[in-house]
Amino acid sequence: MADGSGPGRVTLSGVVLAGLLLVLIIASLYLFIAQPFWFPPLASEHGGRIDSLFGTVLVVSGIAFVLVQGALGLFVARYGANGNERAAYWHDNPKVEAILLITTAVILTVLVFMGQRVWASIYFADQPQNATIIQITGEQFFWNFHYPGADGQFGRTDTKLITSTNNIGLDRNDPVAKDDVVSVGIMHVPIGKPVRVRLRSKDVIHSFFLPNFRLKQDAVPGMGIEVWFTPTRAGQYEVACAELCGLGHYRMKAALTVDESEEAFNAWLKMAAEQQ
């Protein structure tokens, strides 16, 4: 057949390339299905919605990945040059093009809406009532956690009062500041109760990253940004900085404890207040 409708030659290069694409498909299926390495164990309420959204996108893009890489492998294996035989001469198929365009657009639109439901449930929901409120201030290269204490009110802060021992410039003469707790590098929250985090930065942009809680929010100087989450698993976790903030970026971390009960949390707060 000179018009290329017959099969091409199976060439060594084509088969090797197809084989490599097959290895790629198998390796990625293994990595994403057997999950030898995966997300850090989930410990927040909204995190489940993010993980399942990730799973949905994974299934859709995974199918596309296998189909496209697989087709590419199949074609290169099959359609090697064969002497003087000609390739097929066709270069348009408006119907197929329209179907592919519409199918892609529909799938992506569905993903947009699924994604936005999750996004809206995190960002457009009302602020949780009865929450633990923490003011968190990032600076090169550590996190300051400011708790209002038993009275539930934050003491006044002033940048003029900042010293090497008073990182956030808390005015200790302010009566409501008496029971405030400022903890450097150590964060505690009670389990099962919403936590509202007010993020600030003293110097450059940092990013407050709680890998287990599927929470990440930049702390931007000049801005106060509030995010919230509800811890669902007690234990020890890590807080990281996810935005390059200077030479010590890699060590800008903190320890996060989710206490097993409100009482345990209050006990820690009391102890920390006594140490101030």
């Binding site: 090797v16 990595l31 390495f37 994974l58 893009s61 270069h91 990013s207 599927r214 100087p221 390059l244």
Partner: protein
């Protein structure tokens, strides 16, 4: 290239310096861009090897490195500030000084007049000026590596206020000043080039070369030049504002109340997010300034070695235009967790997934091109096929990151690093390699060695997947970008063996590129001579010009175009290709 000037009828002879150094010939300028950018790639690649060394063995003491680079490896251990400088310089060099320069500056200059049937660019002097300003910018950014206080360390994105306040880090003084200067020079050079490309393609096409007969490379370069003309000024302006903040006492990007090392900083009224908006308003089109020429070149090369017309030429053109337009309204997807209003997150998710549609169309069309082909597995053809695979692998992970809610966890992790490397570094790298193997004979009159070229392809194909695919996994595991030592975090320690694997693969991949460098340099002087004008049996105009083309490209008569550039395997024809210059009536249908 040392042969006499017998092929030149149009212009008088020039001395060595005017001909090969201070040349206004687009081909020489293209090759100058190419070689300068490749030198920058050697620098940028070496930096990445040092990064991978540090990431795999973060606390290893190496007396050798301590002796070689005492400032960077105090006591044999890499300093953290050196690591973040590596990150910054690697990203900056690769994005601007390799990819942007090699694809538009190198291939753009060489190919535009040759493929549209013109004798040179519209503004040859401006073209030469663009190269010399580019070279100057390369020297400036290279010199930033040798500043005694350190190279800049704020990443290639140079977010303010880290970049705006010299006290924010060791490299943030002179280092960042040099960074801004280099970027300003680079954008100025890019603007000169862009203006030239647009004018040339629009006004200097030869007779018969209608827009819909342009090779896809030319379409991609035209659209890219328009993008550059619209995007570069924004970066240039942002850079100038940043310079004012640093030196002129203004506060565009720095708010009031910043305390650095217990010292208040005298600024008020600026906003750090302004920098991000300006940077990414440039930065996302920049991604396509790199990817579009790669798409165009890969399409043409793919078609040539598939011996088959590109599938759906029209849709290829329209989808590139769609990508270009949409690329200006997706920048916010870099900022989902930046503190930007979350309502904007919804808008940018929509536009981002919208831009995936034309990208998917292009992928289907490449597959449609390979289907039913008769593939010649040359090094150039293999790299063009490899481009498709890389673009798909890198593109699909973009859906995760473009979905704002999924991005919360993935932003600033290695998942992002995997994504953008595959889609905007490796895929364009494959297109550029393909382009080099393909057009080298036209550039230098000699072939690159095919066997070495294929070995280079196999090593690179396997290497990049071993390096970048596992990065998705450690990114899902939470490993942050730009951290000097992942083992500082307990939750990252279990996946450290993956980092070791990636680093070993990266060293092999890096060594594999030496084969290419050797092949390239060796072949310029001692490669097999090209004895015909059209060794690949391709259809586009550059293959009708002498090899290598003399000054003025086409001899006395400019070629006339009668057909589109994809007439491969036309049924009933004697040859399996028909050059664009063959009149439709001359070829008798049998």
């Amino acid at each position: 290239m040392s042969e006499s000037h017998t092929g030149e009828h149009v212009h008088h002879e020039l001395g060595f310096w005017r001909k090969y150094v201070f040349s206004t010939d687009h081909k020489i300028i293209g090759i100058q861009y190419l070689i300068t950018a490749m030198s920058m790639a050697v620098v940028g690649g070496t930096l990445s090897m040092l990064m991978r060394y540090q990431l795999a063995w973060p606390s290893m003491i190496s007396p050798t490195l301590g002796k070689l680079m005492p400032d960077a490896f105090a006591g044999g251990v890499m300093k953290p500030e050196f690591y973040v400088s590596l990150v910054t310089m690697h990203g900056t060099i690769m994005v601007f000084f390799l990819f942007t320069a090699v694809l538009t500056g190198g291939f753009g200059n060489f190919l535009i007049p040759l493929q549209i049937g013109a004798r040179d660019m519209a503004f040859p002097f401006l073209n030469a000026l663009s190269y010399w300003v580019f070279l100057l910018s390369c020297i400036v950014i290279f010199s930033a590596l040798f500043v005694t206080t350190g190279a800049p360390l704020g990443g290639w994105t140079s977010y303010a206020p880290l970049s705006a306040i010299p006290a924010a880090g060791p490299g943030q003084g002179t280092g960042v000043t040099l960074w801004i200067t280099a970027i300003a020079l680079f954008t100025a050079s890019g603007l000169m080039g862009g203006l030239n490309y647009i004018t040339t393609i629009l006004t200097m096409r030869t007779r018969g070369m209608s827009m819909m007969r342009l090779p896809l490379t030319q379409w991609s370069l035209l659209i890219t030049a328009i993008l550059a003309l619209l995007a570069f000024p924004v970066l240039l302006a942002a850079g100038i504002l940043l310079m004012f903040d640093r030196m002129g006492g203004t506060s565009f990007f720095v708010p009031a109340g910043i305390i650095m090392n217990q010292m208040p900083i005298e600024h008020s009224g600026g906003h750090p997010l302004l920098w991000q908006h300006l940077f990414w308003f440039f930065g996302h089109p920049e991604v396509y300034i790199v990817v579009l020429p790669a798409m165009g070149m890969a399409s043409d090369i793919l078609s040539t070695f598939c011996r088959k017309p590109i599938f759906s030429y029209r849709m290829m053109v329209y989808s590139m235009i769609a990508i270009a337009v949409l690329s200006f309204v997706v920048w916010g997807h870099h900022m989902f967790v930046s503190g930007m209003n979350p309502f904007l997150g919804s808008v940018f998710t929509l536009t981002t997934l919208l831009i995936a549609v034309p990208s998917a169309i292009k992928t289907f069309n490449w597959l449609g091109t390979v289907w039913g082909a008769r593939i010649r597995f040359t090094a150039a053809g293999l790299f063009a096929i490899g481009f498709v695979s890389m673009f798909v692998s890198g593109g699909l992970s973009g859906i995760f990151l473009g979905t704002s809610a999924a991005d919360i966890q993935l932003q600033d992790t290695y998942f992002v690093v995997a994504h953008f490397h595959l889609v905007m570094a490796i895929a364009p790298l494959f297109a550029a390699f393909g382009g080099l193997y393909f057009w080298f004979p036209k550039m230098f009159g000699r072939f690159m060695n095919e066997t070495l070229g294929r070995i280079h392809f196999w090593l690179t194909f396997i290497g990049v997947y071993c390096v970048f695919f596992p990065m998705h996994i450690i990114g899902i595991g939470g490993q942050m970008r730009r951290i000097y030592d992942p083992t500082q975090y307990m939750f990252l320690v279990p996946q450290q063996p993956v980092n070791v694997f990636i680093s070993i693969a990266a060293f092999i991949l890096g060594a594999g590129q030496l084969i290419f460098l050797f092949n390239f340099l060796f072949s310029i002087f001692a490669g097999k001579r090209v004895l015909e004008r059209n060794p690949w049996h391709a259809t586009t105009l550059e293959w009708t010009a002498p090899t290598p083309p003399g000054h003025g490209n086409f001899g006395e008569e400019l070629p006339v175009v009668y057909r589109w550039p994809f007439d491969y395997s036309v049924p009933g024809e004697k040859e399996d290709f028909i050059p664009q210059t063959v009149p439709a009536t001359v070829v008798a249908k049998q």
